[in-house]
């Protein structure tokens, strides 16, 4: 059986996992209409399942995406209207992690170095591995992806941030503790929240640390930096046995994390994979702004809360969006004391992105405003900032990649 699985892995794509150092060789097509009912079978941006943006110091837009087993990245100098030939980062076929909450990550530092993170499934138990690819020449070339961690257990959902000194921070879901517990016959659920730092944009990392032993294993982690440049993470933790509610945690330095601060008592007791991670943005005043999805006995839907004391206390959860329209996938961005929030709704026929804005650090909010809508497959909405301007980044199968200036709305 082992031989069989080995062969199967080879012929179905894992054999391609050792991605080569690629030169640009394919084109990220400019947006064009495609039938939302027909899955697109190319590795291009037009066929993406998830697309993540990043603005380089020179003002160029970079987008990394996952499409049909491939991770690729491309540069745009006209705000996403067209892209230069793309660079293939990795090819994993069926083994690329394209779950509903998975997406490749892309960040950069002030000198234009970039890091891409993604996950793929590395063995027949469907344990995953986070890989990192780095560019040290402003994106002309990206390195052969290497594992973020060499631990044989599963790692997924890496979230990246770059601190003011240019150090790369990575947090991810890690199953080493769960795997060890199961080996000794103990019942273990979910995963753990791990983190590490890199001084060279991911070429190698410092000691791997566990910030929180008990977390959900299927939801992405949110990360934002405090005014002092320290990461704050938000994730779906496990409380009191198997209650999957959210928590924030300050990462103090290379090895130490602060206390686990529960955002709200939603009381979602479950062992499902929600595939629905939270969002966080920390304002210049140090206020934590968080948004999350729950189906707890206390509340169901997506919610917003804020904390002015580093997560020790959170405001009462406020409902986001129309509860009858499946509100989902919140994204937050803080710009001084102006806070932007977007999310997706679905009414059985079309998916729509709505926005709310606060100009007083989250105390009060504007009414929801429709930003964009589509029929057919669509990615999560993401917020991104370039200098003083805020944009909605949204990939849809019908309209392609869109970058919409919000402050012009």
């Amino acid at each position: 059986m082992y031989i069989f699985w080995t062969l199967l892995l080879l012929v179905t794509g894992l054999g391609n996992s050792l991605a080569q150092h690629h030169e640009a060789h394919q084109t990220a097509h400019s947006p064009s209409a495609s039938s939302p009912a027909t899955p697109c079978k190319e590795p291009t941006l037009n066929c993406a399942r998830a697309a993540t943006p990043y603005f380089a110091p020179d003002g160029a837009l970079w987008v990394v995406w996952a499409a049909n087993g491939v991770v690729a990245v491309a540069r745009s100098t006209d705000m996403g209207k067209s892209f230069e030939p793309s660079i293939e980062i990795a090819k994993h076929g069926s083994f690329l992690d394209t779950g509903p909450d998975a997406r490749p990550q892309l960040v950069g530092n002030q000198t234009g170095d970039m890091a891409i993170a993604y996950a793929f499934f590395k063995d027949k138990q469907w344990n995953a591995q986070v890989n990192i690819s780095t560019s040290t020449d402003q994106g002309r070339n990206f390195s052969t992806p290497t594992p973020l961690s060499n631990d044989p257990a599963s790692q997924r959902f890496a979230s990246l941030a770059v601190d003011p000194q240019g150090k790369l921070f990575a947090a991810w879901i890690d199953k080493r503790l769960v795997t060890e517990a199961k080996k000794t016959g103990k019942k273990a659920l979910g995963g753990s929240i791990a983190f590490a730092w890199s001084n060279n944009m991911g070429q190698n990392f410092s000691k791997e640390n566990i910030a929180q032993a008990d977390s959900c294993e299927c939801c992405r982690i949110g990360v934002s930096l405090t005014p002092e440049g320290l990461p704050v993470i938000i994730y779906r933790a496990i409380f009191n046995g198997n209650v999957r509610d959210h928590a924030t945690q300050l990462i103090r330095n290379e090895t130490q994390s602060g206390p686990v601060e529960r955002v709200s008592v939603d009381n979602w007791e479950t062992d499902v994979c929600p595939h629905h991670g939270p969002a966080i943005a920390v304002s210049q005043r140090g206020t934590y702004h968080v948004a999350w999805f729950t189906q707890g006995s206390a509340r169901t839907g997506i919610f917003y809360a804020r904390s002015t004391d580093a997560g020790k206390h959170y405001s009462a959860p406020e409902v986001i969006g129309n509860p009858d329209a499946q509100p989902a996938r919140p994204s937050l961005l803080a710009q001084d004391k102006t806070i932007w929030m977007v999310w997706k709704e679905f009414d059985a026929k079309r998916a729509a992105i709505f926005m709310q804005r606060s100009t007083d650090d989250g105390v009060s909010w504007s009414k929801p405003r429709l930003l964009s809508e589509t029929i057919g497959y669509s990615d999560h909405p993401l917020l991104i900032q370039k200098q003083n301007h805020v944009y909605l980044s949204w990939f849809t199968a019908a309209q392609g990649y869109q970058l919409l200036a919000l402050d012009a709305q």
């Binding site: 031989i3 069989f4 899955p39 509903p100 994979c273 929600p274 595939h275 989902a328």
Partner: protein, 164 residues
């Protein structure tokens, strides 16, 4: 015998043939049908007014994979109950088949999504379903649907079956 090893291409050919046979023996018994938009209604109609269990699972859901072998045991215990397994992630059919075979579900009614399983696909099955997995739907002959979110206590299904 030594002569044999002088011909690496022959060894390779023989190896491929053996592997091919192994592959055939292992998975040909499993039929994996594609599931696409509009198929939910057809699936419901196929139950012919008998109890129907639909189990939704995916490869990106570790609890789903952990639970599959227990579903294999359940199906063996209740072979007369129509139980359908729907895999929702974008994974090659041969991998799905092998995983089902390992869980002793190769004789079950197995479906795999041929399209991206997004909110449209979920809404068609259950407007309240937000994508969490695993999800099991117990569908009564009169069309009433009971949802079981997360891994299943199979006693609940057995109790449900007693009602028919």
């Amino acid at each position: 015998m030594k002569k044999f090893f002088r011909y690496p291409s022959l060894i390779k050919l023989l190896f491929n043939v053996l592997c091919g046979c192994f592959f055939c023996l292992n998975i040909q018994a499993t039929e994996l049908k594609n599931y696409t938009a509009g198929d939910w209604k057809i699936l419901l109609e196929s139950s012919a007014k008998k109890p129907l269990v639909v189990h939704l699972w995916g490869f990106t859901c570790a609890p789903c994979l952990d639970e599959l072998p227990r579903w294999g045991e359940f199906v063996a215990q209740f072979p007369e109950l129509k139980t359908v397994f729907l895999q929702v992630d974008d994974v090659a059919p041969e991998l799905t088949i092998q995983t089902l075979t390992d869980a002793r579900l190769d004789r079950a009614d197995n479906l795999t999504s041929a399209v991206v399983f997004d909110e449209y696909m979920r809404y068609e099955i259950d407007p309240r379903w937000r994508g969490e997995l695993p999800l099991t739907l117990l569908i009564s002959p009169d069309g009433d649907i009971k949802r079981l979110r997360g891994t299943v206590d199979f006693k609940v299904i057995q109790q449900w079956l007693k009602g028919f």
